[in-house]
């Protein structure tokens, strides 16, 4: 098992290098002039050229790339071109916000997805039809639309929940939760639908197995069969879906953080891209890549723990 884990960990380095290089090239290809973007239209061309020179944008591409990689290898994410403060200072307060949103949405989809998927598989009939209909609806609704509708009804009209903003967990857990309810609902809806469907399918498959019939014949209760036996064996594909949805949620934070004005990484990257702020962009890409790779690693480890057949490489 440790060999499997070690292999997964080692693969992170070349993957990270590939993604960072791709990011560098994509940023270079962005339309517009960084100096002009920062100084605005009123600045003279001489001023723009001076700033581009100060920021190193007029150096050869290879030189810029080598310098960029050199800083990264030393653990130096650099300084924001726009704000002139360390990238770590910008990202430090923002990563927990995005992680809060993504993790809460994932917990939401696990709880609701597993529960409704299991109920649909076990109860069947009309209940199954209704749950599948709900899942289809949730899946077809775009998260940004759902977010806007939730705000219009629950914040603007009813004033039950705030429309925008975020409160740190350590400042007030109650407010932290209040401010996250709507964004979590908006971003977690589609993932919940996927979890419902995957759980239902996996449970239906497992519940038809011979050993489940034997357990019933031996008098085991439905609760015991479902919770102790069936769910555990259905867990691997569900786990893969949850991991996949978490990564999807992470990508969706850009839109949701904009709608709800959450001071997370997703909102920050929009501004960084607009300003050609390469250090911030690459910092965010590295953070996000590490989170994704870590997520995959955790999913793999749990899968290995659940299924002994996976322990041999």
């Amino acid at each position: 098992m440790w060999k499997v884990i070690a292999k997964r960990v080692l693969i992170v380095i070349p993957m990270l290098w590939a993604i960072v290089t791709l990011t560098f090239l994509l940023v270079q290809g962005l339309p517009g002039d960084p100096g002009r973007t920062i100084l605005g239209q009123e600045a003279t061309q001489d001023q723009v050229d001076t700033l581009n020179h100060q920021l190193g944008f007029d150096r050869p591409l290879l030189e810029q790339y080598v310098s960029f990689l050199g800083h990264l290898v030393r653990g130096d994410l650099g300084t924001s071109i726009l704000n002139n403060i360390p990238v770590t200072s910008i990202l430090g307060p923002r990563v927990p916000v995005t992680l809060s949103l993504a993790l809460c949405a994932t917990v939401f989809l696990i709880v609701l997805g597993l529960t409704l998927g299991t109920v649909a598989a076990v109860v069947g009939g009309r209940v199954d039809h209704v749950i599948r209909l709900v899942a289809s609806l949730l899946m077809s609704v775009p998260s940004f639309w759902l977010g806007v509708v939730l705000v219009a009804i629950l914040s603007v009209e009813l004033r039950w929940l705030p429309a925008t903003g975020y409160v740190n967990l350590e400042v007030s857990p109650m407010d932290w939760a209040r401010y996250l309810i709507l964004p979590v609902l908006a971003i977690g809806a589609a993932g919940t639908a996927a979890a419902i469907r995957q759980t239902r399918a996996a449970m239906l498959d497992v519940l038809q197995r011979d050993y489940i019939r034997n357990l019933r014949a031996n008098g085991a209760s439905t609760a015991s069969i479902v919770l102790k036996h069936a769910l555990r064996n259905a867990a691997i594909p569900i786990l893969a879906t949850v991991g996949f949805q978490f990564i999807g949620i992470l990508g969706g934070t850009v839109v949701i953080e904009t709608i709800f004005t959450l001071p997370g990484v997703g909102q920050q990257i929009l501004q960084a891209v607009g300003a050609h702020d390469l250090p911030v962009i690459s910092g965010i890409v590295i953070c996000t890549t590490l989170i994704v790779l870590l997520t995959n690693l955790i999913v793999d480890i749990i899968s290995v723990l659940l299924n002994p057949r996976l322990r041999t490489p």
Binding site: L30, G32, L39, Q41, T44, A163, T164, T261, G274
Partner: protein, 514 residues
């Protein structure tokens, strides 16, 4: 006298005496009780802004919607008044000795937030920085060649006449930074150092999210009303901002979407507006360098006749249709030019034919997807005249990079208005940033230079009206509509928030709780 009678007499006397004393203490026609000045220290508001400056050095920042956080921290040498003219600020007064010498008389006993004193030397040190700092607005005072100071005056000596200098001193160039911060400019990355009414609480702020400003107890203007604190909340998306305002999280916001104005009004917000921009097309290649048709006056006039400005106003929102570039109340506005071109397709066709284009012309217009509604309406209106508009939508950074280059003969033009003379220099003179093909009309160049040299506003207006007449008659631009800046204010939280002409957001100076 019996004891009972004595008691009655005493009690009567005491009662009457008490009543008399009470009467004396009340208001009368000759005495008034002192009024208690309002306590502004406890009020707090949240103002939404789409962005905040990346750097608190005002010389490195832009203006427009950055102005409010900058105003909180920094006073300006001159302050823009409600009629659009520069008035007293940190300088009590200003005068033109001649058209190249501007004298500012500095206010006394003004302190920076770090305790340093504002002196004429400090003003000189600040203004001279414009030569060495690279910033979006530093070119606004490039005409200042040298600065002389006395005990209480600062004299700006210009290399050439420039009547827009006082206006520049109401914005970034007029924002004075503490000498202590100037000696350590890196400190301005995170913390402003001005003489403004508020100071930034960095501990309770989060970069690019929210900034808490608290009232500055050392502020020199003790008679001006203020708030106890202002939080500037960064919200990029206008819909999210309006939702935040409707749900009570935000108390003031700027909104460029005309459709939101009725929503704001129905929510009980005060809507303040000023004409701040115009919509149209910049016929940048009016010399016909890359597109020969645009070099012909009849073609440009045909474009102006092929537009239904009233219909376009429905898209633009509040404001008014226009055929001229300078709005009412500003230099160069000429009422007789308001309807210089009527919507007349037949006339447009005839003009095109007389210019040698009986089958019409095709225009590739650089634009932004955000403006598709306007551009598509323009496209439909012009089609019957034989004018085909190809809309070339590009992302905003590319639009900014490409629009004022010789790759772009025509582009969608949302022009934020400024002083008319400054606008003319940018748009019409061969050295202007928005005149990539360097087209020159010698008569206009002469008039604009004369207006620059004039020190009387009436004379400037007379000269700029002539510029307007030439621009309109020769159809150098296609201006279709003036649009307004809309500013929404919650009247239950904010009073006396003013929106000066041609500004992108309401001023925070003097606003207070109701």
């Amino acid at each position: 006298m019996s004891s009972k009678r004595a008691a009655l007499a005493v009690s009567t006397f005491v009662t009457v005496g008490a009543l008399l004393l009470a009467g004396c203490g009340g208001p009368s026609s000759t005495t008034t009780s002192p009024t208690t000045p309002p306590d502004d220290s406890k009020s707090s508001v949240t103002i939404a802004v789409p962005q905040v400056v990346a750097n608190w050095d005002p010389y490195k920042a832009d203006y427009s919607f950055f102005m409010q956080p900058l105003q909180a921290a920094y006073d300006t040498l001159l302050r823009l008044q409600q009629d659009g003219a520069p008035g007293p600020g940190l300088a009590e007064s200003y005068t033109w000795k001649d058209n190249k010498t501007l004298v500012l008389t500095l206010r006394k006993n003004v302190q920076f937030s770090d305790g340093a004193a504002l002196t004429p030397e400090v003003v000189k040190q600040n203004l001279e920085r414009a030569k060495t700092v690279t910033g979006p607005r530093t070119a606004e005072i490039k005409a200042v060649s040298s600065i002389d100071v006395t005990a209480d005056t600062v004299t700006l000596n210009l290399s050439a006449p420039d009547p827009t200098i006082p206006l520049a001193l109401t914005r970034n160039m007029g924002m004075m930074v503490s000498p202590t911060a100037l000696a350590a400019p890196d400190s301005l990355t995170t913390t402003p150092a001005g003489t403004g009414p508020y100071t930034l609480n960095t501990a309770q702020s989060l970069v690019n999210d929210h900034y808490l400003f608290e009232y500055n107890p050392k502020y020199w203007n003790t008679t001006e009303r203020h708030m106890g604190s202002i939080t500037f909340k960064v919200i990029v998306d206008t819909t999210a901002t309006l939702n935040a305002m409707r749900s009570g999280q935000v108390d003031a916001m700027r909104d460029t979407n005309a459709v939101d104005v009725p929503v704001a009004k129905s929510a009980g917000f005060t809507v303040i507006q000023t004409i701040a921009n115009f919509y149209g097309l910049n016929l940048q290649d009016r010399g016909g360098t890359s597109m020969a048709a645009l070099g012909k006056q009849e073609v440009r006039q045909a474009l102006n006749n092929a537009v239904d400005r009233k219909a376009l106003q429905q898209i633009v929102g509040d404001g008014q249709p226009s055929t001229q570039p300078y709005p009412p109340g500003q230099l160069g506005h000429d009422d007789s030019l308001d309807n210089a071109y009527s919507y007349d397709i037949a006339k447009a066709k005839s003009l095109l034919a007389s210019a040698g284009y009986p089958n019409g012309i095709t225009l590739d217009v650089l634009s932004l997807s955000l403006q598709d509604t306007y551009m598509q309406a323009l496209q439909q209106q012009m089609a019957p005249a034989g004018i085909t508009i190809n809309i070339k939508d590009v992302p905003p950074p590319q639009y900014i990079a490409d629009r004022n280059t010789t790759k772009t003969p025509v582009y969608f033009w949302f022009n934020s208005l400024s002083n008319s003379i400054a606008d003319a220099k940018q748009n019409l003179l061969p050295t202007g940033a928005y005149n990539a093909f360097k087209v020159e009309d010698p008569q206009i160049t002469q008039l604009v230079n004369q207006a620059s040299s004039a020190t009387s506003r009436d004379e400037q207006d007379r000269l700029m009206k002539q510029v307007s007449q030439i621009v309109v008659s020769k159809a150098y631009f296609l201006v279709t509509n003036f649009g307004t800046t809309n500013y929404f204010v919650n009247p239950k939280k904010i009073a006396d928030m003013q929106l000066a002409p041609l500004t992108a957001a309401a001023s925070i100076y003097g606003m207070h709780a109701p």
